[in-house]
Amino acid sequence: MVKYIGKRIIYMFITMFLIATATFFLMQTLPGSPIQSYSKLNDTQKAIVEKKYGIDKPKPVQYAIYMKNLAKGDLGTSFAFKGKSVNDLLASRMKPSFILGIQAMVFGTIVGILLGMIAALKQNTFWDYGSTFFAILGISIPSFVFATLLQYYVGSQWHLLPVGLWNDGWKSSILPSLALAMGPLALSARFIRTEMIEVMGSDYITLAKAKGASGFEIAFKHAFRNALIPLITVLGPVAAGLVTGSLVVEQIFAIPGIGEQFVSSIMVNDFATIMGTTLFFSAFLIVVIFIVDILYGVIDPRIRVAGGKA
């Protein structure tokens, strides 16, 4: 197991290296340059700025310098945010994004699982159709539409919660979290429903019933864990969806998170910030997928990695 984890961590670094390289060169193909917004400067002044940020050097040299700094954990200096380091920028913006992401993920999967369980155990009843309808809504309505609806009704019409911004403590996080949670919620509900129905029809469930287990024990002690396996598999991509969703949702709710900063840094060709944020998202995703793989083995002993043979 230790060997497996070690191996996975090495792979994670290789993946990060490849992503950093690809992003670096892809970004060079973006139209415009970081200093095009400094339009008031004359050519000499521009040259000074370019020299200051090191973008006057040939691309391979820039790449080498960037990678060298990256290895030390230094993401460079932002072009747009007046000499602030990207590390500082990310750190100051991380908290809201992190809170939103975690809340949306936890709320979405828990409620989704509950809805899915109810639908499966009360198959073809009002409960089933209700939860299915809800799940289809969640899958088909994009998070920004849902976000806008929440803002309009809950925020602006009923004045229950703040419409946006990040200045009212936990209250500010509720609406954006809800908007983000719809995706994972709907997906979990669909997966758990399908899987529970399948598992409830299997032989070991009949055997559990033949042992005298009650309906509740069968559903939660026997069926649930087995129904969870496919859901765990898709939770990684769901987390990815949450990241991309948060780009838009943070923008809509004007939340000073990483997503919001990412979008604005792309607008102004702030190369260092784009790189830094991309790498941060990638690292996040890679870690989530890694955790999912480990969880997989925790839930299903058949997938557990046998001491280093993997």
Binding site: Y204, L207, A210, G212, A213, H222, N226, D300, P301
Partner: protein, 353 residues
């Protein structure tokens, strides 16, 4: 012998989109204490449904008891509330299924699965339940039970898993053990081991077994009595010798003739022609008449009642009616009957007697 279970006039239907499927159409049998009753018949004859209905394991939404009763311990199981049934399942009556590869929960250690009925039905501590579970594993022949107790089903072979399922079924010393084709999914050598194990255990804990199978070789090996089912009914019931050496029903003849035999040098193995009856629209008379070369005119009109052959042997065929014409059973069956005292072909000089 005391009767431990009585099934009387049991009728059960499934409600499907196509209509009402009459899966069990009047089944009667008793189970005596300590005996093994084999229920044989082809797929769809209602053997599994009969036993699942005893444990009430059929989906309540689509199945319905139309008539009859299942008497156990003074209670009619067809009318017992689900909560009461849960107290009987796994404690007084337990069950072994056909496929050991799918009948264990893949995400639960086998120890937990064996302990489950113990903790559910007996007021014992976890440590005690654990001890019992390890004893059970030893009894069913899982070596090194102390350590293997914490393992998951996928770490065991098919035969071992069936042993584990048996251990689970025996956890509360049930009065009745229902084995639904417990050896069908196993290869022949393992089959023999599992049958030996079941016989051993029966001696040890004195339980009654209902053994469902379509393998007559297995029946001869384990059963005391045999019930032959066809089209949702029992067509012949008797002791194992009576069914094997003095069969009366043409369907039993067909079953026995289609069993490969070492003694008979026949080139071609006999197969019963036709297909099982459609239980959506069950036939009016004898369900087997359309496939039987021995069918009489009355077989098309009226279902035959049970005729007594001996105190333990009954068969539902019009051929046993006093006015029925004498028919010759197939040659292989006559061969069998020659050895059975009391059959009409018995020869005192015959081999077996």
């Amino acid at each position: 012998m005391s009767k431990i279970l009585q099934v009387k006039d049991l009728e059960l239907s499934f409600h499907t989109f196509a209509g009402e499927v009459k899966a069990i159409r009047g089944v009667n049998f008793d189970l005596n204490k300590g005996e093994t009753l084999a229920i044989v018949g082809e797929s769809g004859s209602g053997k599994s449904v009969t036993t699942k209905s005893i444990m009430r394991l059929l989906p309540e939404s689509s199945s319905e008891f139309k008539n009859g009763e299942i008497l156990f311990d003074g209670k009619d199981l067809t009318k017992l509330p689900e909560r009461e049934m849960q107290k009987i399942r796994g404690k007084d009556i337990s069950m072994i299924f056909q496929d050991p590869m799918t009948s264990l929960n893949p995400t639960m250690t086998i120890g937990k699965q064996i302990m489950e009925p113990i903790l559910k039905h007996q007021k014992v501590s976890k440590a005690k339940a654990r001890k019992v579970a390890i004893e059970l594993l030893n009894m069913v022949g899982i070596p090194n039970a102390e350590n293997r107790y914490k393992m998951y089903p996928h770490q065991f072979s098919g035969g071992q898993r069936q042993r584990i399922v048996i251990a689970t079924a025996l956890a509360c010393n049930p009065q009745i053990l229902i084995a639904d084709e417990p050896t069908t999914a196993l290869d022949v050598t393992i089959q023999a081991q599992i049958l030996e194990l079941m016989k051993d255990i029966q001696k040890k804990i004195d339980t009654s077994i209902i053994f469902i199978t379509h393998d007559l070789g297995v029946v001869a090996n384990v059963a005391d009595r045999v019930a032959v089912m066809y089209g949702g009914m029992i067509v012949e019931i008797g002791t194992v010798d009576e069914i094997f050496y003095n069969p009366q029903h043409p369907y039993t003849w067909g079953l026995l003739s289609s069993m490969p035999s070492m003694d008979l040098n026949e080139e071609k193995l006999y197969a019963i022609p036709g297909t099982p009856p459609d239980l959506l629209n069950p036939p009016k008379g004898d369900a087997f008449a359309l496939r039987s070369e021995y069918a009489l005119k009355i077989d098309m009109e009226q279902p035959p009642p049970f005729f007594r052959v001996s105190d333990t042997h009954y068969a539902a065929t019009w051929l046993l009616h006093p006015q029925a014409p004498q028919v010759e059973p197939p040659a292989g069956i006559i061969e069998r009957m020659r050895t059975f005292p009391g059959s009409r072909y018995y020869e005192a000089t015959g081999g077996r007697a």
